[in-house]
Symmetry: C2
Subunit: 218 residues, 2 copies
C-alpha cells in the first residue's frame, strides 16, 4: 500500500489566504501541514506528487517520501501519474491541507480496508479528503467539484463495497483565514498550530453569516 499526496505548486498556493499570510508564510504553512500529515501516516509508504521542486525536495529529504514529478495538468491526472509510477495496487489518497488528520484515523481505515473496496471521507463543501482504494484502477478518479458524490456514484455504479468514514477532523481543509480557526480549536500539538501561533495569529468566536471565527494577527 502507498499513500499518495498530491501537492499544488507553492506559488499557486492557497491564494485565498494571501490577504493574511505572505507567500513565504503560505509555503511554511504548507510544509508544516505536510509534517502533521506525515506524522499521522507513520509507518506507511508515502508518495508526494508535485510539479514544484522545492516541495519535492522537502518531501524527499525531510518526509522521506517517494516523489513523483507531475507532468500533466489537473489533480486527477497527477494522481493517475503516481498510480502509473508505483507497483502497489492498494492506495490511500489524501490532500496536503488536512493537518488535523491523526494516526487513529489511518488505523481505522486500515482495519476497515479488510472489508471494503473503497473508503471515503468528505471535506466540507462536498469534496474528498480521504480516498482508500483496494485497487488503484477500481474507479475513475473524479476530483474537483462535489467529488464526494461523484466518487460515491462511481462506487455504486461498479457495485463496490464502500464505506463512508465520518470524521470532522479529516473534513477540515485549510483554504481561508476562517479555516485557520479550526486549527486553533482542534490542533493542539500540531506543527501547523504552533507555526500559526508563532506568527501572532489569534482566533476568537463569532456568530454571523460571515463566518464562525474572527481570525486576527497581532
Amino acid at each position: 500500500m502507498k499513500v499518495i499526496i498530491p501537492v499544488s505548486p507553492i506559488n499557486s498556493l492557497k491564494t485565498r489566504l494571501s490577504e493574511f499570510l505572505s507567500s513565504e508564510e503560505r509555503k511554511n504553512l504548507l510544509l508544516n501541514m505536510l509534517r502533521d500529515i506525515k506524522k499521522a501516516l507513520e509507518g506507511l509508504d508515502v508518495v508526494v506528487v508535485s510539479r514544484d521542486d522545492e516541495i519535492l525536495d522537502f518531501a524527499k529529504y525531510e518526509l522521506k517520501a517517494e516523489i513523483v514529478k507531475e507532468k500533466y495538468k489537473g489533480l486527477n491526472n497527477a494522481i493517475k501519474q503516481a498510480f502509473d509510477e508505483i507497483d502497489d495496487e492498494e492506495v490511500i489518497i489524501i490532500p496536503a491541507d488536512i493537518p488535523l488528520i491523526k494516526k487513529k484515523h489511518i488505523e481505522d481505515i486500515l482495519k476497515l480496508s479488510k472489508d471494503y473496496d473503497l473508503i471515503i471521507a468528505s471535506s466540507r463543501g462536498g469534496g474528498t479528503n480521504l480516498l482508500y482504494l483496494k485497487s488503484k484502477n477500481l474507479i475513475e478518479l473524479r476530483y474537483e467539484g462535489f467529488s464526494f458524490l461523484k466518487h460515491l456514484e462511481e462506487a455504486e455504479k461498479r457495485n463496490l463495497r464502500y464505506y463512508i468514514y465520518d470524521s470532522f477532523l479529516i473534513s477540515v481543509d485549510i483554504n481561508t483565514p476562517e479555516d485557520l480557526g479550526e486549527i486553533f480549536i482542534h490542533g493542539d500539538n500540531t506543527y501547523t498550530k504552533n507555526y500559526l501561533k508563532g506568527l501572532g495569529i489569534e482566533v476568537e468566536p463569532k456568530h454571523s453569516s460571515a463566518g464562525r471565527f474572527v481570525v486576527k494577527r497581532r
Copy 2:
C-alpha cells in the same frame, strides 16, 4: 438516561437564513430538523426545552417528547432547568439544528458511555454539538463561544474520563444558507433535505473565500 434538546423560540430562529427563507419556512425547517434528530434518537427518552408553545406542542404531540417550558434566559439556564425537572442522572444534550446526526452515532455514544464520564462532539466553529454526561451535575455547563474548549477544560479540571467523538455529520449545524449545502451533499433520506428540495433550493460547488457552495432558489 434522557436526551435534552434545547430549542430557541421560532421568531428568533435562524435569522441568518432570513434572506433566503421566510419566517414560516424557517419554522418548518426547524420542525423537519427535529424530526430527523428524533429518528436518530429512536428508543431513547427525549426532553425538549423551549419557551415557544408551538415548538413544545410539536415536541409533545408529534415527537412524543417530554417538554419543559423554559423560564430563564440563556442556553445554559434552559438546560439546567431541564436537569432540575428530570429524575435521571445520565444525559445527552444536543442542539435542534444538527439534522445529519444518525442512529449509528448514538449507538457509538452509548457504547462509549460505559467507559467515559463525558463525551463531546464539536460543531464547526468550536461549539458543542453533542455532550454526554454520566451525571448531569458533573461539570458546569458552558455553552456559547468556544464551548467545546470550555467543556474540555471542565473535564480536565475535574479529572473526568472524557472522550472526544469525531464526527463531521454531527459538526454540521444549520445557521447560514451556506450550511444548507451540506444537507444537499450528506442529507439523502432526511426530512430536512426533502423539505429544502421542495422549496426549490439547489446547491452548486464553489471555491472562493466567500464559501464552498452556491446555494440558489428556483
